[in-house]
């Protein structure tokens, strides 16, 4: 085990931080919001050209040979800067779902297109009733000559507002399969909207939309689960970055702000609150490592790590976000203060792909042995 970054990883993290500091400061971010785009094609082009979309993809699949660690580093930096573009939905969730499929014509072309930044594909899987249960799918696929048609309503699809293609889950006779549907195809209606964190998502309704099957039941389910595991690492890393930033901002603020004749940081109640925030953050960071350690583990073990990470990080995100505002006082609830925007994003992250309760329930269903949970195999 080694918890330090390699030279290459440090360079990657520095490069993302530099980009964010230069091209993604609060003013530029705010302009994306005020113009109502919430997305910059230039930024997306940069993400591809700088090799970030393919950073966590093997060379065999056309990437740059990194792993989920690289993805986590990028998301963590994006969390500090509150990047709005749907890197998570497209470059993590959809891309990793595709990568988890056996090689094939469509899959390979989509992967290449996403890595190159030329194509935006969103995974249209979650439905309003899912509430973080990735096994749930009520959409229906019906065979129709050579192709298929899909009927179903997908909810809050990340990257769905800008995607040109949807990777859609739907039930056929054998189980849940994955289909490719063009965003502009007949029978597809997409309703894009903002969540409170100023990120775009879309509800996408399929009404006998024409589709190509690109993964049959067992492989599709496996890939959807894998894609979500990667995406959860992505948002937890993003949360860590956001919380890191909040601790820095809050420490700075309380050191300079004076009340009742003393700096806020001299009040013991304030110090102890900050200590509790740090504890929550560090425990969440530890579960990110637990998740990363098991992203390629067999399923019950991977599920345990991911559920642990998401449950712990969800509560940490709410606690740290809430108290960063609390310690800032009134200024913290103004739109012009970035602290509130972190809170908004952290609140969304806390429920994305299932809140604490959903993941704790998953943990109790798994009922994993306590002592061997970290060791894939004890040679014994």
């Amino acid at each position: 085990m080694d918890f330090t970054l390699t030279q290459e990883q440090t360079a990657l993290a520095d490069s993302v931080h530099r980009f964010c500091a230069r091209d993604y400061d609060a003013a530029r971010r705010q302009s994306l919001i005020e113009t109502g785009t919430y997305f910059s094609a230039d930024n997306w082009r940069a993400f591809a050209d700088l090799g970030w979309i393919g950073a966590g993809v093997s060379e065999a699949d056309g990437g740059f040979g990194g792993s989920e660690i690289e993805t986590a580093l990028i998301m963590q930096a994006f969390g500090r800067a509150l990047v709005l573009e749907p890197f998570l939905g497209i470059a993590v969730l959809a891309l990793q779902t595709l990568l988890a499929l056996p090689p094939g014509e469509h899959r390979n072309a989509l992967v290449a297109g996403i890595i190159a930044g030329d194509v935006q594909v969103a995974l249209a899987h979650g439905e309003l009733a899912s509430r973080g249960d990735t096994d749930y799918c009520s959409s229906i696929a019906t065979q129709f000559g050579e192709g298929w048609t899909i009927v179903g309503e997908k909810s809050a699809i990340h990257g769905g507002a800008t995607a040109s293609k949807f990777l859609v889950s739907a039930r056929c006779t054998e189980g849940i399969a994955l289909f490719l549907v063009a965003a502009g195809a007949p029978g597809v209606s997409s309703f894009a909207y903002r969540t409170i964190d100023n990120q775009l998502v879309a509800d996408v309704h399929f009404s006998e939309a024409p589709a190509i099957m690109i993964a049959a039941p067992p492989a599709a389910v496996t890939a959807i689960a894998a894609g979500h595991a990667h995406a959860m690492i992505g948002i937890c890393a993003e949360a860590i970055g956001s919380m890191d930033e909040l601790l820095v901002l809050t420490a700075e603020y309380i050191r300079t702000r004076r009340q009742f004749g003393a700096s806020l940081s001299s009040f013991q109640a304030v110090q102890h609150r900050m200590a509790d925030m740090l504890v929550e953050l560090e425990l969440a960071r530890s579960t990110l490592y637990y998740g990363l350690a098991n992203i390629d583990s067999a399923r019950p073990q991977r599920d345990h790590a991911i559920a642990t990470m998401k449950a712990i990080t969800s509560t940490a995100a709410l606690f740290v976000g809430r108290n960063a505002i609390q310690l800032h006082g009134a200024i913290g609830v103004t739109e012009e203060c970035i602290v509130g925007h972190h809170y908004r994003r952290l609140t969304v992250i806390a429920v994305l792909f299932g809140n604490e309760a959903v993941h704790l329930k998953r943990l109790s269903m798994l009922a994993m042995p306590i002592w061997d949970a970290q060791q894939v195999e004890v040679a014994f």
Partner: protein, 403 residues
């Protein structure tokens, strides 16, 4: 000890309920279900209806337009208004300024200012906080210098609620620089249309507008707009705050939230049914319910405290501390109930609440679901305004526990 409601009080609640059901216009009632602040036109219409019945400001002295209801009846009245989702009145005028004018205002000031407040004709905002003086009011620096029969006001107020639509402001200003900080403060009424006043809106985390900054640049205010004695502003401000003893518990608001959460969770689909049947969610909701009832019975205790029992002032810190936490939790639980839709940005379909963007989820059509995300964000401020939780804990430690 006797915990029964008197038949009078039971009849009183029925009377209020019947009044509201008969008089609250249907369109206002429907908009009241939404989780946005009421728009001024709804408030104005509703205040005029209340005023016709003499019920705009029940806690004012009857001679000045109030009623002779007892504290429990006043609580029941507010409780029924929340139950019916009636618009929330201009609190700055009715709850904060009104009692000060009734007690310390001159007869002329009372005649001039009270009737338009009761009728919702003139709206007020409160100018207390300053950039350097949040919880620590005594250090305020906005000054009012006497020049003939006018004060010349210069300074900078912040966190001024509803100032963007207020006609007048009542402000704490420093009229004497030579005495100790608390002693030099006066209570001044200022027309917001005066020359030299600039307002800057402060958009908040819910993308709504309630807060403002106000800059005073040589604003001329007639001396007759001084309330009571010069230098007594600190005392009047303290008096004003004690009128918030039980309202800061926001119990009736949170009861309304619980009804809303039940409604939303009963319709929120899950893989196996509806959220309301999920045991873990049900526990969270039941915990909230239990705490709200505990808080309501704490309010009842304070309402029945003997007149002049100052310990009730201290208990109001308990009510504010826990009430604000419950209020925040309730709003977050409503958002949780809605799942994916709970944190969707959603502009007020009535167009009164301005969001930065109209990219809203068109799937959300249930009146009970409209504005939930904004409310969840707005309530993050509940444990900050009106004395932050940390300040309340210190008050409890010092005044109740004598530590």
């Amino acid at each position: 000890m006797n915990f029964d409601l008197s038949p009078d009080d039971i009849r009183f609640r029925a009377r209020v309920r019947a009044f509201v059901e008969a008089e609250l216009p249907a369109d206002i009632a429907r908009r009241g279900i939404h989780d946005y602040h009421s728009c001024r036109s709804d408030v104005d219409r509703w205040m005029k209806i209340l005023n016709r019945h003499g019920w705009s400001a029940p806690h004012w002295p009857a001679a000045l337009g109030g009623t002779d209801w007892n504290p429990l009846q006043r609580h029941i009245f507010q409780d029924e208004l929340r139950r019916s989702r009636a618009p929330v009145l201009d609190r700055c005028a009715i709850d904060l300024l009104g009692p000060v004018l009734c007690r310390f205002g001159s007869a002329e000031q009372q005649q001039r200012f009270l009737p338009p407040i009761l009728n919702g004709d003139i709206w007020w905002c409160q100018g207390f906080s300053e950039p350097g003086a949040g919880s620590d009011l005594a250090s305020l620096t906005t000054r009012a210098d006497l020049e003939g029969d006018h004060y010349i006001v210069n300074g900078h107020k912040i966190w001024t609620t509803e100032a963007h639509c207020a006609d007048w402001i009542f402000a704490l200003v420093r009229t004497d620089q030579s005495v100790k900080p608390q002693a030099g403060i006066s209570f001044l009424l200022i027309d917001m249309t005066s020359a030299g006043i600039t307002r800057r809106p402060i958009w908040s985390i819910d993308e709504g507008l309630t807060l403002n900054e106000i800059f005073f640049d040589n604003v001329r205010v007639p001396v007759k707009n001084l309330v009571g004695e010069p230098g007594a502003g600190w005392a009047y401000a303290k008096f004003l705050l004690t009128n918030e003893r039980t309202t800061s518990a926001v119990v009736s608001h949170t009861k309304r939230d619980i009804e809303q959460i039940r409604h939303l969770a009963g319709r929120a689909p899950t893989p196996t049914g509806f959220l309301i049947d999920d045991a873990v969610f049900a526990q969270k909701l039941a915990r909230l319910e239990a705490e709200v009832f505990a808080l309501e019975w704490s309010v009842l205790r304070v309402l029945h405290a003997a007149d002049g029992d100052t310990s009730a002032d201290a208990v109001s810190s308990v009510l504010k501390l826990r009430g604000s936490e419950l209020s925040e939790r309730a709003a977050l639980l409503a958002a949780e109930a809605m799942g994916d839709q709970g944190l969707a940005a959603l502009p007020d379909p009535e167009g009164h609440h301005k969001l930065r963007s109209d990219l809203a989820n068109p799937q959300i059509v249930d009146d009970e679901a409209i504005g939930v995300a904004s409310k969840a964000m707005f309530r993050r401020a509940a444990t900050i305004y009106g004395g932050a939780s940390e300040v309340q804990r210190s008050i409890i430690a010092k005044t109740i526990l004598r530590l």
